[in-house]
Amino acid sequence: MGDKAIMATVWLDGCSGCHMSFLDIDERLIELADLMTLAYSPLVDTKDFPEMADVTLVEGAVSSEDDLAKIRKVRAHTKTLVSLGDCAVTANVPGMRNPFLTEDLYDRAYIENADANQHIPVNVIPPLRPNSYPVHQVVDVDVFVPGCPPSADTIFYVVSELLAGRQPDLSGRSRFGA
């Protein structure tokens, strides 16, 4: 560990595509590994969030009570919080459910479309909030990285800059949807 930065990544309501783009950094991950320790992430087995992460990348929108509890905890234990990708920045695809009532969404998926065992798995799915929110609607966000997903080059640039103590300049490097 030593003086390496502590980094974490979390996914809320997303598709994991941004994390795949993070992995697409490929061999440059080794460069990053010299600078930071990935202390918590869906990509590693650690179950507990570190006491204080220097940088946390957040993928996904805030859709459920679990997402809300998780992002509040992450925010309290993170110095620089990065909204990674369009779902985190705008709610994007998860936000497309917002015009609908939650009951109608459940009915369509678990009752009308179900060939067997029609019931809403209330004890399995964390309760959904009425709407899906971008991360900055519920906690403060320090860096916004749009893209669906942001390219590996963009993510590498953002993480490298932050680990070097600089604020990344994203102009021209990423845009919504691409």
Binding site: C15, G17, C18, S64, P94, R97, A109, V124, I125, C148
Partner: protein, 95 residues
């Protein structure tokens, strides 16, 4: 009733899940469940949208396997349009 072992979250998979393993009094596995703990409502919110949005939207179901969703959706769109796809395009789509 014995104890319950909970693995939450399950890591190194796409998506959100947990596993609960229910043990009986003698410590043997009585029941094991894999819980998928994410719900976005694609089944509903895609209704009424234009068909040519669907390959892009369904690809966002999963960022690890977007291609399978995209190709399945594109093939459905082909059928919807009742168009004959050229052999070369079919080969490209299937690859």
């Amino acid at each position: 009733m014995g104890r319950t072992i909970t693995i939450d979250p399950v890591t190194r998979i796409e998506g959100h899940s947990k596993i609960t393993i229910q043990l009986d009094d003698s410590g043997h596995v009585a029941d094991a469940r894999f819980h998928v703990t994410q719900f976005r409502g694609f089944e509903k919110f895609t209704e009424g949208r234009t068909f040519h949005e669907m390959p892009s939207l369904t690809a966002r179901i999963c960022g690890i396997c977007p291609v399978s969703h995209l190709v399945a959706s594109a093939k459905t769109c082909d059928q919807l349009m009742a168009v004959r796809i050229q052999k070369r395009a079919k080969i490209c789509a299937a690859s």
